[in-house]
């Protein structure tokens, strides 16, 4: 027993030392515009999935995450956490399909690489790096938050339907959910006016003209449609979060102080962080050398 404990402590020490010296992540292109940054460690502890929002992209939305996870100037504990992680950047065409379809696509993507990372994701010459992850972190921005919550709800409903055989993995229910500027509504424009309203209302030269269109039934229908979607998602998630212990049903939420797209809100049991000064809807999830909070928020959630 004593020997086992000693060996275990030794392993932990070795892992910590390796983290400080680990080679940087390796970029791997995956199907459908998705890509992964595979840890330089042979058996990374965790997988982190990033889901962008409406009109976003896996590169642009998470700009500099890819670089700063290996930044030697960062704090040791933060760098160690990220070096012990494989990062998966999910890509989807937010304009072309419904949220349910985005969710289905995401779940298939996730099931392909989590909880067991298949050899096929990696270079064929390096089969030793296939292994089972111990932790999962799901990170969403804006509409990506809705996609994630729908996916979690989908699998939570499966897990709750005890009379039915479970044919899909429910491992994601034990993951941690981190949401940047979640736009808890679908994007379902009604007509050209609705699309213009959705896309252009952040442009200061055009915003005043478009604001007058808020009175139109087209826009009102659109907002109602979004609200209905939000309400269902919220009710079902809150109900399951209150009656089960699945960690993924409760999110840590972070907005920028200058959020201008969505309403700053959370589901009942979510943990909301104080808004980030000087950050808006797009910039809240983009770390840089002077703004490392996103890296720490993903790592620890609220109180990062």
């Amino acid at each position: 027993m004593a020997l086992a404990r000693s060996a275990r402590i030794g392993t932990i020490r070795v892992r910590a030392n390796v983290c400080l010296m680990a080679p940087p992540h390796e970029h791997i292109s995956l199907e459908g515009g998705c890509f992964a940054l595979i840890s330089g460690l042979p058996s990374p502890r965790r997988a982190v999935f990033f889901v962008h929002g409406w009109g976003g992209s896996p590169s642009a939305t998470w700009h500099r995450f890819q670089e700063l996870v290996d930044d030697e100037e960062g704090r040791d504990d933060v760098r160690g956490w990220w070096q012990d992680a494989d990062l998966y950047f999910f890509s989807y065409e937010s304009r072309r399909f419904s949220i349910s379809e985005h969710t289905e696509r995401f779940l298939r993507f996730l099931d392909h690489v989590f909880p067991i990372r298949p050899i096929s994701v990696l270079r064929a010459s390096d089969p030793t790096r296939s292994h089972r992850y111990g932790e999962l972190c799901l990170v969403g921005h804006s509409l990506g938050a809705v996609v994630l919550r729908e996916g979690i709800l989908d699998r939570a409903a499966l897990a709750a339907a005890t009379a039915r055989p479970i044919t899909k993995s429910t491992d994601l229910l034990n993951g941690q959910l981190r949401l940047f500027a979640p736009a808890m509504h679908g994007a379902k424009p009604s007509g050209w006016l609705g699309l213009a309203y959705h896309l252009l209302r952040e442009i200061r030269e055009i915003k005043p003209w478009l604001e007058a269109a808020r009175e139109s039934q087209t826009i009102i229908r659109q907002l109602h449609s979004e609200s209905d979607k939000l309400k269902r998602l919220r009710d079902d998630t809150e109900k399951l979060a209150a009656t089960t212990s699945h960690s993924a049903l409760v999110a840590d939420v972070l907005y920028g102080e200058e959020e201008h797209i969505g309403e700053r809100d959370k589901f009942r049991l979510d943990r909301i962080e104080l808004p980030m000064p000087g950050r808006d809807h797009a910039s809240v999830c983009k770390p840089d050398k002077g703004y490392r909070e996103p890296l720490q928020f993903v790592m620890r959630g609220k109180h990062a």
Partner: protein
């Protein structure tokens, strides 16, 4: 620290498709060839500037480009002959492509004191690069059509735009929407103009910032070429058609939107975008 991951993504999503597009266009119309040449020269330009600001690692950039130098040179010949770019970009490319050095000296080597005070240059460049990429992928053929469509084709396209039905879900890639492409062009202009002034750029010494944004304007400005008479005329026509459609939809809902209000807003946005990319005099914009 140069960002290898971004360069790999840029190569995969933009540069290599641009090379393939150029090669494919050799058997297509002159308009297609011009668009393919402009796209490839822009991609080449982003890599060059990326290395110059140390946003991209030079060794990896060399590996990405070397196999395609002949295609780049051929595209550059066409771009130069057709004057697809302004400010002597293609002439500089010609000299560079004949040089033994793959890349020009870094900006920091040419302007050491200015760029020493501008450490965020690589980060800013990366954001501009990603935004330009996002627009190129989502414009629905807007840049290609407004810059290169023949007059006869243009009349058809403009007529279609006036009646284009709104489809919530676009079924295939071939079903391009000029209407949506136009809205995304406005969004892109707004984002580019905003990005030119974030992350400390306003407090940096202006020669470094001006140099970078004019470099970006040189390689990217052709897509929304507001200094070209043809593009500008067509852009104005689209703006009028779009305002008419939006006002008509609002009127059907018993809401009256101010006539020419949208056109006026777009005109102001254009001005801000043009200033940001250095189309106007640098002194005037700073």
């Amino acid at each position: 620290m140069p960002n290898a991951s971004l360069l790999i993504e840029y190569s995969r999503v933009a540069f290599r498709p641009a090379v393939a597009g150029w090669e494919k266009a050799q058997s297509s119309s002159e308009a297609k060839q011009r668009f393919a040449a402009a796209s490839l020269i822009e991609s080449y330009g982003w890599i060059i500037v990326g290395v110059q600001v140390t946003a991209f690692p030079a060794d990896l950039a060399r590996q990405v480009m070397i196999p395609h130098v002949q295609s780049i040179a051929a595209a550059n010949v066409l771009a130069e002959r057709e004057s697809l770019f302004q400010s002597g970009l293609t002439a500089q490319n010609r000299v560079q492509l004949r040089s033994e050095e793959t890349f020009p000296p870094s900006f920091a080597a040419i302007y050491p004191s200015e760029f020493a005070e501008f450490p965020e240059a690589p980060s800013l460049f990366s954001q501009w690069c990603l935004e330009s990429l996002a627009f190129a992928q989502s414009d629905g053929g807007f840049a290609e059509t407004l810059n290169f469509a023949l007059d006869q084709e243009w009349e058809v396209v403009l007529g279609r735009l006036r009646d284009e039905p709104f489809l919530l879900e676009v079924a295939t890639d071939s079903e391009r929407s000029l209407f949506e492409g136009y809205l995304r062009a406005l969004l892109h202009m707004n984002r580019m103009a905003d990005l030119m002034g974030v992350d400390g750029a306003r407090t940096a010494s202006w020669p470094a910032r001006a140099l970078m944004r004019v470099s970006v304007g040189d390689i990217h400005g052709w897509r929304l070429n507001l200094t070209s008479g043809l593009f500008e005329t067509r852009f104005d026509s689209v703006t009028e058609a779009v305002e008419a459609r939006l006002r008509a939809e609002a009127t059907a809902d018993a809401v009256e939107l101010e006539k020419n209000g949208f056109i006026r807003g777009v005109r102001e946005l254009r001005l801000r975008y043009a200033e940001a990319l250095g189309y106007l005099s640098i002194e005037a914009s700073d």
